[in-house]
């Protein structure tokens, strides 16, 4: 027997597999598709479910995402595994022109309960064509919900919420978090809400908004800052679209300072959007200029020493905070 608040220790990656297993058990209209899923990621699901609901796809990203859209339009709730986030570009037509627009273009006649999962493979020496963090690109598309869980519990709970949501959801998973273990709720009906950021650490001097895998760095930065007498509040954004501007604005209203940590490239990043939003809606509460800590506007190099220097770290966040005073 499991109790309502029982937990089990799972890695971020295991939590994703469990979410899929539970949702496939709960609803027979949930199917899973993707390249090589029979060998990577979903092996254990093949022991429980047959090939009708688990589809190893050919290398046809645009079409298998579109097949997911077509299936979603007609009664299924597909989870499409797009493996590496840099492959989103191949599927962007079906994601943007079809999934995101079909409900609108049909005057609300249709809905697209589709989940697309994809992983950001940065800091992994895979070079420029495998290492992108393209979430801002999709944030610019109305109609898509964009999630970026940063903990194992959220990886599970948000994926489950996405499967039960009636709109197209894209989830960016972060491979740098894959092995992080945590106590994850066992109850198959515990969901993590879409559209709600979470204050992971309370503070009063500065707000650090963390996007996706920046969270461990932001929390470490807050510890370092605490030793130096600066009280940092850390907000885990969790949902990139729709943005939870309320939680961010409320925090900035108390701290007066804002740092946004985001591993996408600086120009037009999630950090840019948050900075613009706070400048428009919370300007009076800001005591210092907003700072973005992001990847610079260059491509990801193969060389590991250089690659590491591109991304958000504890120290980069700490120094950004220190420039504020």
């Amino acid at each position: 027997m499991t109790l309502a608040n029982d937990t089990v220790r799972l890695s971020y990656l295991q939590a994703i597999v469990e979410a899929q297993r539970e949702e496939m058990r709960r609803d027979e209209n949930v199917i899973l598709m993707g390249e090589d899923i029979a060998v990577y990621g979903a092996q254990s699901l093949f022991e429980e479910f047959d090939g009708t609901r688990l589809r190893n796809t050919p290398i046809s990203e645009n079409s298998f995402v579109g097949v997911g859209v077509g299936a979603a339009l007609t009664g299924l709730r597909p989870i499409v595994d797009l493996t590496i986030a840099s492959f989103c570009y191949l599927a962007s037509d079906q994601l943007i022109n079809q999934a995101a627009k079909l409900r609108f273009m049909t005057g609300g006649q249709l809905s697209v309960p589709l989940v697309v999962r994809t992983s950001t493979f940065y800091n992994n020496r895979t070079a420029a064509q495998h290492a992108d963090r393209p979430y801002p690109l999709f944030m610019n598309t109305p109609g898509l919900k964009i999630l970026a869980p940063a903990t194992a519990s959220d990886a599970k709970g948000m994926l489950k919420a996405a499967v039960r949501d009636d709109d197209p959801v894209v989830i960016f998973e972060d491979i740098n978090l894959w092995n992080k273990k945590e106590d994850v709720p066992v109850d198959p009906d515990v969901l993590a809400p879409i559209g709600k950021a979470l204050v992971r650490r309370e503070g009063s001097d500065v707000t650090i908004v963390s996007v996706a895998g920046c969270l461990p760095h932001a929390l470490k930065a807050a510890e370092v800052l605490a030793e130096r007498g600066i009280s940092a509040e850390v907000i885990d954004l969790r949902t990139i679209a729709p943005l939870d501007s309320e939680t961010i604005l409320n925090s900035v209203a108390r701290t007066g300072r804002l740092i946004v940590a985001d591993n996408s490239h600086k120009v037009g990043s999630v950090a840019s959007e948050i900075a613009a939003m706070v400048c428009e809606e919370g300007f009076d509460t800001l005591r210092r200029p907003v700072r973005r800590v992001t990847a610079p506007q260059v491509h990801v190099p193969y060389n590991g020493t250089l690659e590491k220097q591109l991304f958000v770290t504890r120290d980069k966040i700490v120094s950004a905070v220190e420039t504020l005073d």
């Binding site: 209209n29 199917i31 009708t52 609901r53 589809r55 796809t57 050919p58 046809s60 645009n62 079409s63 298998f64 995402v65 579109g66 097949v67 997911g68 859209v69 077509g70 299936a71 979603a72 339009l73 007609t74 009664g75 299924l76 597909p78 037509d93 079906q94 022109n97 079809q98 079909l102 409900r103 609108f104 273009m105 049909t106 005057g107 609300g108 006649q109 249709l110 809905s111 697209v112 309960p113 109305p142 109609g143 919900k145 949501d165 009636d166 709109d167 879409i194 559209g195 729709p242 943005l243 939870d244 501007s245 309320e246």
Partner: protein, 327 residues
Amino acid sequence: MSLDSDRQLEAFRRMVRIRLFEEALIAHNPVGHLSIGHEAAIVGACMALRDDDYVTGTHRSHGHPIGKGAEIGPLMAEIFGRRTGICKGLGGSMHLTDARMGLICESAIVGGGFPLATGAGLSAQVRGTDQVSLCFFGDGATNQGTFGESINMAAIWKLPVIYFCENNGYAVTTPVATSHGQPDIARRADGFGIPGVAVDGQDVEAVHAVVAQAVARARQGEGPTLIEARTYRFDEHSNRLAIPIEYRSQDEIEYHRRERDPVALYRAVLCERGRQQECEAVENEVRETIDAAVAFARESPEPEWADLWDNMYASPPGPEHARGDRK
């Protein structure tokens, strides 16, 4: 699997509806890509489907919902951009989706419908129904990657999908002959290990027969078929497009209008079968339907600002969405 006597007249009715719908647009509201010349291909294909079968269309898709039996008024109102339109005036000429009739998308992105139709086939297979899905597309669309990607997936999974090409010989001004390494489109099926059939797209009963066979195959779990209906577009690519060159001869156009008009051809067949009066009655009835649809569209209100926001999400995402520009 041939059309019985009642269905023959219904096929004629739907063909006349398409023709007069398009002619009304030329007269009253010249927007969009017209299906005049394609009527037999469209209706022949749709008459082989059930109401609960799925259809995806294209930019040239006024005919597809009409062929599937959709109500005319909301289609006309949609093209007029009205709130009473089938998509509340938010979709327009290239997106006349009537979900009640199994239409799930008309893609204005050439080739965009292949994956969606394939996914609807997958859905029917997973849910264990015997529905099929039929994907309409043009000759030009066969040069998109989604054509091969999607047909391949339908082939390996034996999905109940009919890929139905309305080959009118041109993609805007580009002829098939100069843009297709294998201009014989039905033969492309060989590359995917599925049947490919070419048919005279101006002969509604011939089209119906080949589609009915493909549908039966699909319902029995034997997988997809590629059908190439050879047809011809009587008007320009689209109503508002200026064509600065003569990419097809006047003789060619005149020949098709004179000798290969699918509506006239089928009327002649039905008259030969002694059904002239019935044909005339259908023509009168359709004329009234179309006039009423134009009047309905004209009198209908335009959509409102709030409609933009109300049709974005099935599960509205919360406060941010409700803020700002909505007001």
